[in-house]
């Protein structure tokens, strides 16, 4: 396939056709443009064009105080924004050397694992749609809705959550939130089982997905892949285990790995990760019972805004409020890299601080951006319909791709 002679567009001898897949094609789930050279149904070569929703977050972040960068991170991977939010908070906590109480860590773990579940649900549901099975998608969307209701109970928002603050949460989880999480743990597993029954051993699904986009571990590592798609190739790299953050070392869970790295393996790995996330949430709920009640943030008045009613009635709170808002608290002049396991892989924050209230330089290591660069090379030789499901199983999120 790759030996095709290359002709210019006007050459009468040109045998391939140029096809614009995207930027707003319904099969691409976002703003992705791929200019493909097609020989019939087969892709000869492709060029990815990205940057359609680039919003210059890194530049904006240089002009925002630390706590105002959280909403920017929401808009990167908007399918699992709590992971981005908390990854950012933990980066700043690392910089400021803030120790969060265990209960805060566990609460964070619950929210992050819920986010991971919703991220994987979307990816696997949409993979079903792209292979021609709409039912599974609708089955799972209802459950995602329940996760969003839990977010709503915790922070008031659904998609771009802006949940938590530097040092913990802005408020404690209320009883309804806990009730909803427990209800989710009861009601969701049977539905996921049913979803797996629809797909796991489904002949049509296996024929469509197995062998498509197979990647060997060496190539995947050479392309700096991370997340479920790397684990599907057989590399057991997970930031939650390699560099535990937010007390992940207290939990007992497995890292599922595949062996061929094709679309089917990625699907299986994601589904298995959902089960593991449920396990983690269950353990976290048990652990929270043993922790002192009502602790939802670290005791760091220099960085954690006091409650509003105290600001009006209490001198100390007023001073701290003023100092935080006006940015009069010194921060260490150093640099820090913190990574969390996002929905799509290693989500890193590289923060260079010059002692001021906003970062001197902030770089986001965005897994979608790095994972996606292999898409065009690996599409060469594929059928167009295979390339579509390959893209949806990479789970590239446009917001994270472009930042």
């Amino acid at each position: 396939m790759n030996n095709h002679p290359v002709f210019t567009d006007n050459d009468p001898q040109k045998e391939t056709i140029t096809l614009n897949l995207g930027p707003t094609h319904p099969a691409t789930h976002g703003v992705f443009q791929n200019v493909l050279e097609m020989d019939g149904e087969r892709i000869v070569s492709g060029v990815s064009t990205i940057g359609y929703i680039h919003r210059a977050f890194e530049k904006i972040a240089e002009h925002r105080p630390f706590y105002q960068i959280t909403p920017l991170t929401d808009r990167m991977n908007y399918c699992s924004s709590p992971i981005n939010n908390m990854g950012w908070h933990m980066t700043v906590e690392k910089l400021l050397e803030i120790q969060t109480p265990k209960r805060v860590d566990y609460l964070r773990v619950i929210v992050m694992e819920l986010a991971r579940i919703s991220d994987h649900l979307i990816c696997n549901g949409i993979l079903g749609v792209d292979t021609g099975a709409f039912t599974g998608f609708l089955w799972l969307m209802e459950e995602r809705e329940h996760i969003y209701e839990i977010y709503e109970e915790i922070c008031g928002a659904r998609l771009t959550t802006n949940v938590g603050r530097i040092g913990g949460f802005e408020r404690d989880f209320n009883d309804i939130a806990f009730a909803k999480i427990k209800q989710f743990l009861v009601k969701f597993p049977p539905i996921l089982k049913e979803f797996e029954k629809l797909f796991n051993r489904n002949r049509i699904f296996i024929e469509r997905t197995s062998g498509v986009g197979a990647v060997d571990p060496e190539t995947a590592l050479n392309y700096s892949w991370s997340g479920p798609i790397l684990r599907a190739t057989g590399v057991d790299y997970d930031v939650r285990v390699n560099e535990p953050y937010s007390s992940y070392e207290d939990f007992d869970f497995d890292i599922p790995v595949g062996n061929t790295g094709d679309v089917y393996d990625r699907y299986i790995v994601r589904n298995e990760e959902i089960w593991q996330s449920l396990r983690i949430i269950e353990q976290a709920l048990q652990k929270i019972e043993k922790e002192p009640k009502g602790v939802f943030h670290a005791d760091v008045p220099e960085f954690y805004l006091p409650p509003k009613e105290e600001v009006y009635n209490n001198m100390e709170a007023l001073i701290y409020h003023f100092k935080i808002v006006m940015g009069e608290i010194d921060t260490p002049k150093t640099e820090v890299y913190h990574a969390v396991e996002g929905g799509n892989g290693e989500l890193g924050f590289y923060l260079v601080n010059d002692g001021g209230r906003s970062p001197y330089r902030l770089h986001f290591r965005r897994p979608s951006f790095i994972n996606y660069q292999m898409y065009a090379p690996m599409s060469a030789g594929m059928l167009l319909s295979d390339a579509i499901i390959n893209m949806s199983s990479l789970n590239v999120i446009a917001g994270e791709l472009d930042a």
Partner: protein, 167 residues
């Protein structure tokens, strides 16, 4: 092969490249050192291909700009040895007028877009890169927007323009 501790890794690197790298520091548990652009390719190759170190995973490449320094443009590499579970950060500072550095795409395919992004925002020329063109910004852009001399324009605050207040 057992896991290597960070001290042993540090020793190996300093004994091999003692003169060519700066004194390594360890902010928040991440080995950090500087080197020059003449040595960077050799160091990256050594780190990647050494049988014990195995820094085979390129986490990230990014840039930074310090306008007051003579060597004002920095390139920052984050490598990760998945086997030993140790990260290392390497910095190279370049001339602001003409920042040129050898590419890492010969070692990692994944460096391709990372370097393109760094070029796009800082104007760093990665010598030997197969396709060094802009990636996120529009193609006809003439500046490198993450450099410090380009201020952030805030299009949202049109409400505070002077002419609304008769000034």
């Amino acid at each position: 092969m057992g896991k290597l501790s960070k001290q042993i890794i540090l020793q190996k690197i300093t004994s091999r490249f003692g003169e060519q790298i700066s004194v390594p520091t360890d902010p928040f548990g991440l080995l950090t050192f500087e080197t020059s652009k003449d040595n960077i390719r050799e160091i990256l190759t050594f780190l990647k291909e050494d049988k014990e170190l195995q820094f085979n995973y390129l986490t990230d490449i990014t840039g930074i700009h310090y306008p007051e320094n003579e060597l004002g443009i920095g390139v920052i590499y984050h490598l990760h040895s998945l086997i030993n579970n140790v990260r290392v950060r390497i910095k190279v500072f370049l001339n602001t007028e003409n920042p040129v550095i050898p590419t890492a795409t010969t070692l990692w395919q994944g460096a391709n877009w990372m370097e393109r992004e760094t070029y796009d925002f800082f104007g760093i020329n990665f010598e030997g890169h197969p396709n060094l063109v802009r990636i996120l910004n529009v193609d006809d852009m003439t500046v490198f927007p993450m450099r410090r001399e380009y201020p952030l324009e805030d299009p949202n605050r049109v409400d505070k323009k002077d002419y609304f207040f008769g000034r």
